[in-house]
Every structure is written in structure tokens, then in C-alpha cells.
Symmetry: C3
Subunit: 296 residues, 3 copies
């Protein structure tokens, strides 16, 4: 048996875990969720790290999800399989910056807003639906003082051109970020990521209230109504002792999509455990969840 | 490289392993087994545990199987994939009892009988074919002294009603358990779990012989012959130094299913290794296996 | 969190990792590779080991690949899944030799040649295309002094007969190996492994140059042109301080398959990291790669 504690030095392969269980409800079922039912999740996070003789840091990380299910290219479902939450990423960093490949995230997504509930009921999804849609596989980040700038793309002969850029300024108790992405998934296609997306992020903690806000606008070259739109969102959290209250809101100028709003509460049980609940409305549908989260 | 020993304190993420290899034979191939062939299995068991400030215990566990194969919803097979042995489970426990979600087991299955062989040739399958058929996803257990009582169900909008209940009394060197389950998988369906199932379990160690016995009876509301039946089984093991001899027997009142019986021997090599063999008859078919089991 | 270092004793479950990232290019896409694109890979290797009271060593090992993709029996692709690199293997060893089951490798493959590049561009594939084609599931190895002999087969009722044998002599700074395999996958079939394959391997380090060479000849009983052929290959590496230069070559007497040749360079960054590049020609197609490799 292999057992670890948090106090080791010279880490080379590290593992941490998280788990949750609870009850989720929605008027209609969501993809990948058993809505109106008991849910649980278990994630084992694997992190590898090292350092070269010249002081370059390098590493790799990925997640093992205990209870995933998958759908293949033919639409058939498969359960009983261990899944990842993206194919992991590998990096090397030094004075030149940080170069990462794999599941690196698009560089234009420099922020986001909070969701509510133990597992999240999706209040943030609308506000975060336009940025970070490019599936980048390589990303370079350079940080100097309070400023961090990133550029990402997906270098693949099978893909059409795409590129994303973002910069973030982190001050004392606040941050401001901007992002820009230009995605052309395949010629003529109108997948959600198509077009030029500009995003602005701002957040910070003021008088004990943590606020996150974002705005994104996408200009579709094919001028498809579903893509050519603005989205924006705001979340605020206030913590009193072990209790944290959160409210979140997302909206769009899209003519047939309704706004999302919700409130949540979380209670810290200590030792890595918390109990949380959230309820709200997503595109006119009522949703709620209640459950516990554990960190190991 | 990450290496662990058994002596650490303050465990948070723990890993243990098991593996087996051997030769299995049967007159006809069994699903998920390469009968009449070399077999091996490797399992890495992941266990996470923690404690809240108020002394609540919580945790999660799942298995990683190295050599699984799967069949998707369309009947296509898939190999080369890491599988789980069920989607794992998450729990929190305290003075109020223990609440678990995920792959929790049905509360009516409070015991069972032993199989024979290094990997098992299925002598116990018939006796254990009626109880624990509900696929519960949430389970509550309360223990007081020698008595442990559990109730389980599958709270899911997609499922029809189901519930299971069980209680077990563990005395000095013996136990008695009873279980009851009422499953209605979907309206009109006659899957194996349908109907009301009552089970009784008894076992203990008497004069060096460990005996386990069980009896289950299912009353199918649709009165399907395959479901409306009784099953029962008995196993006995005797250990002399490093050698353990086991005999097992299962039977039913089902008109076209034959009884199962078999004998096995196991030799403890120490250090977590054992060599074992078993042979017997399952529904009129001869089966045998021989191989080694390792624990890490 | 579980963190490990390299200095523990009494290992029972051990984990090590490797990762790579880089750019690969080829004139045509290869199966299972995103040619002409960014690639990354992450592997977590799980190794379990123990010892019986009588001093027998036993263990099991398998790999977890973070970014695999699979194709099912119906040709549908599946991503987001954790895969293995073969189903792992289990072994027990002592004075009698070593018995292993699972993904054990065919006994006739006693050597091989080096590839070039950070991930390999396939210069060695042609030379290694005939030996080790039997998918053995059980293997016995006996070593005495400088000589190691192995025999392997796939004991499965579903398979037709197959057997492989190999012996290797390892002297001071050199080795010589021979292998023989006789595979009959299924009656009348002409899969690549069909027929009798004889292989010879030789290698060693001479004046600072490490050389590996191999030759294989297959006699197909069905005399299919694609199978009835010879292949051979040679690789040489020279290391100066942190730099290693490698050249590799493969060829065949098959009338329509062209030879492969390539050169590569690797620079050891220390701490488990290296940067490497390779380019060459495989069956008339130009290929190259450049990237980094990490070991944890």
C-alpha cells in the first residue's frame, strides 16, 4: 500500500484528489448530468514536476475521473471507463517564459465568473460561452511583474487557422484582463468558436466582497445569428467565518436566449470538506443542487 | 518516482494493488473471460480519506483495472482502455451514521458465500443471483453495537422506484443478516432485478471451520418464471497452517437451472502471495482454474 | 496530497512518469499520430512488487496514458479516455526462472535498433516489422550467467497455435541474440504474424559508438508476398558530453517497400529532461520531429 502525506520535499510525482456527492435538480435533463438525481464524482489529479541542471522547471499533469461516461464518434455510449478531463498538458518554463502543449486552454480566456451550488448549476455558462472556444494545443506565457501575457494556437495540419491572445494585470486585490481570439475551424463552418471574439475581465475584493465580471463579443464572419452576439456576467461572494454567500448573473443580447441568475451558500467544515447549495434560473429553467465537496 | 510503504500516518490519498495470473478452463466460454486460456488481472485501488474539524470522517474510493475491455451501447467491443470496477463511491460518516453515494451496493445484500479457485469459477453466482440486483446509488448505514442497518435506493428521474433494506447482527464468531428489496426497474419490464426479494444470511467459525450460508426468494410481480424462484448456497473453509480448503454449493428451485458445486485449495506463500486452484460444476458445466494471487 | 521521492525503502506500489511535447511532420498523416502538428504525451507507470516468505519475487506493472484515443471493433473513434499501452503484465520469479502473463512480449524479439527524434519518426519500424508479432500472453525466462533464454505463447482456446523462442548472450560491452517464432493466427489467414520468423540481433559499444543491428526473415506458409521477405536494420549512437548523435537505417528485400534512414540529435538538460530532433525518410516519405522528453 502506498500512502502519502502533504509534507514531503523533492516532489517528482504527486497525487491529490477531490470528490463530491449530492442531489441535483433541473426541469430538463442536461447532457452529461443525471439531473433530478443523486450524483457523485471522484477525481485523482496526477502532477509530475522536475528541474533541469540549468534551473528550467518542467512538468506534466492530468486527471483520472472515476465515474466518467463517453460517447463515441457514432453516438454510442460507454460506461465503466476511466476518463480524463481533457488530455492533460506538458510544460517547460524558465526566464524565457512558459511553453505548454496539450490541453492548455485558449489564451483569450483570462478570467471568468463564479457559479453557485456544490457542483455548479451553470449560471456562468452563458457569460463564458464565447471566449476560450478554440481548443488550443500549444500556449506560450510570459510574465513580468504584475503583467502576464499569453498566446495560444492549435498547430495541426487537420485544423484551419486559429489564434488567441490575452493579457492580465494583477494588482493588489484586483485584476484586469483582455483577450482576443480569431478562429476559423474549417472553411465555411459555423461552429460556436467561429469568428473574432473580444473579451474583457475585471475583478477584485472590495470591503470583503469578491467580485468577478466579464464581457465577450463575437463577430462571426458568416454572420450567423447564434454566433454574432455579446455575453456578459457578474458574480459576487461574501464570506463570514465558515459561511460564503455567492450570487451570479449572466446575460446576452441574443434574441432567443434568456438570462441566467442564481444564489448559493457554502459552509466550510474544515479538513478539506464543505457543504454547499445553489439555486437559480438558466435560460428560463429552474435548477438547484445541494451536496458536499471534499479535497484530499 | 513515487514509492510508498505501509507505515505512513495522516493518510490522505492511499494506493494499494492486487494482481493475479493463471489458467482457466470451462466447457463453454464465459462473457468477459478468456476461458480455456491464460488470464491475468491488475487492479490499482485508490482510497482518499479525511476528517472535518468536527470529527466527521469522509472519503472516496475507486479502482483502476489495467486490462479491462468494454462493450458500448451498440455492442461494439473496445480494448486497450483502463476501466473501473463500478464508478467508485463517496461517503461521509459521523455519529449520525454513514451516508454514501455512487457504487454503494444494495442494502439487502448483507452476506454471501465463498467461491473456489484463484480467480473464482462461479460456484457462488447462483446463490447470489437474486439479492443486491438494484444498482443503488445512495446508501445510509447506522451501526449500534453489534447491529448494523442499511437502506439504499437509486434516486434518479430516469429510473422507476426501487428500495432495499438490510440488517446484520455480528456476534462473537458468527453473524446473522436479513435483507429485503423492492425493485421496479421500468414499467412492465422483467429485468432480473424486478420484484420483491427476501434474503437471509448466516455464518461463523465453528471448531476451525468457517461457514457461510444464504437463501434468497424473489416474488416477481409479473410472475415470470425466470424471476419467480428461490436460490440458496453454502460454503465452508478449513485452514491448516498455510493451506485453506474450501467447498461451495449453490442451488435453486428454478426448473431448468442445475445446481453448482465445487472444491478449492489455497496455499499462502507469505508476503501477500498465494497459489490457489478450484474445480467444480456450474449448471452442468465443468470448470476449473489454477493460478496465483498477489496483494501489494 | 500524495507526494513521493526516490529514496524510499520497502517499495510495494511505485509510480513513475514520463512526458513529451513537440512538433512532428510527415508528408502524409500516420495512424495514431497527428502528423504536421503539435503533439504531447503523458504516461504514469504503475509498478507493484513484493516477495514471498521463501524469497520468490512477484509483481505487476501497467501504464496509464493521459491522452489516448481508441477505435472500437466497429471503427468508431473515442477520445477523452484513459488508455493503457497494452494490458500490463504479472510475474513471479525465483531460482526456477521467471514466469509472466499478460502483455509479456514475444520471446523471439531479443533486440532491436534505435529510432531517431524526440518521439521517433519510425526508422526502426521496417527492421522490427517481422519479429515479435505473436501477441504472446505467457512467457517463461531462465537466466544463467550471461545467457538468458525465453519461450512464449498465447494459450487461448480462441487462438490458433503460436510459439516463440529466443536466447541472448550478453558479454562485456556487447550482446548477441537469436529468435524463432512460428505463428498460425487462424486457419488460412495471412495476418502479418503468419509463418516462421527467424531473427538475429547483435550490438555493443565499441570506441564510444553504440551499435545495434538486427536481421529477420519470415517464411510464410501461404507464400504471400507481403509476408515472405527479409528485413534488416542498423543504428549507431555517439555521445559527447550532453550531446548524443544517432543514425539509423532499415531495409527489406520486399519489392515495393523502400528503405528507411534517418539521423537525430539529443541534448541532455539534466534532471530527467532532454531536447531532441530527428529527420529522415520512411518508405520514400520525408519525416521529422523536434521536442522535449521528461522523466519523473
Amino acid at each position: 500500500m502506498l500512502i502519502g502525506t502533504a509534507g514531503f520535499a523533492a516532489a517528482e510525482v504527486a497525487m491529490s484528489g477531490s470528490a463530491s456527492m449530492g442531489y441535483k435538480n433541473a426541469e430538463t435533463a442536461l447532457a452529461n448530468d443525471q439531473e433530478g438525481s443523486i450524483n457523485h464524482s471522484i477525481t485523482l489529479s496526477v502532477s509530475m514536476s522536475g528541474e533541469s541542471d540549468a534551473g528550467l522547471s518542467f512538468g506534466a499533469s492530468f486527471d483520472i475521473l472515476a465515474n466518467g461516461s463517453l460517447t463515441d464518434s457514432d453516438g454510442d455510449t460507454l460506461s465503466g471507463v476511466l476518463t480524463n478531463d481533457g488530455p492533460g498538458s506538458v510544460f517547460i518554463s524558465g526566464a524565457f517564459g512558459k511553453l505548454a502543449m496539450g490541453d492548455v486552454g485558449d489564451a483569450d480566456a483570462q478570467g471568468g465568473i463564479s457559479d453557485v451550488g456544490y457542483d455548479g448549476i451553470g449560471i456562468d455558462d452563458l457569460a463564458e460561452s464565447l471566449d476560450g472556444a478554440g481548443s488550443s494545443t500549444v500556449r506560450y506565457t510570459y510574465s513580468a511583474g504584475a503583467i502576464s501575457a499569453s498566446v495560444s494556437t492549435a498547430l495541426s495540419a487537420a485544423n484551419a487557422s486559429q489564434a488567441a491572445f490575452g493579457v492580465k494585470y494583477t494588482g493588489e486585490g484586483f485584476y484586469v484582463g483582455v483577450g482576443y481570439a480569431d478562429n476559423n475551424p474549417t472553411a465555411g463552418a459555423t461552429t460556436p468558436g467561429e469568428g473574432q471574439t473580444t473579451s474583457v475581465y475585471v475583478g477584485g475584493t472590495f470591503s470583503g466582497v469578491t467580485v468577478d465580471a466579464m464581457w465577450s463579443s463575437r463577430n462571426s464572419e458568416t454572420n450567423v445569428a447564434a454566433d454574432d452576439r455579446e455575453v456578459y456576467g457578474l458574480s459576487a461572494s461574501y464570506t463570514m467565518d465558515a459561511i460564503t454567500l455567492t450570487a451570479a448573473f449572466s446575460n446576452t443580447d441574443h434574441p432567443t436566449t434568456k438570462s441566467s441568475s442564481g444564489v448559493g451558500v457554502s459552509y466550510d467544515l474544515g479538513g478539506g470538506a464543505s457543504v454547499a447549495a445553489g439555486f437559480g434560473s438558466v435560460n428560463g429553467e429552474s435548477r438547484s443542487d445541494i451536496g458536499v465537496n471534499f479535497k484530499f
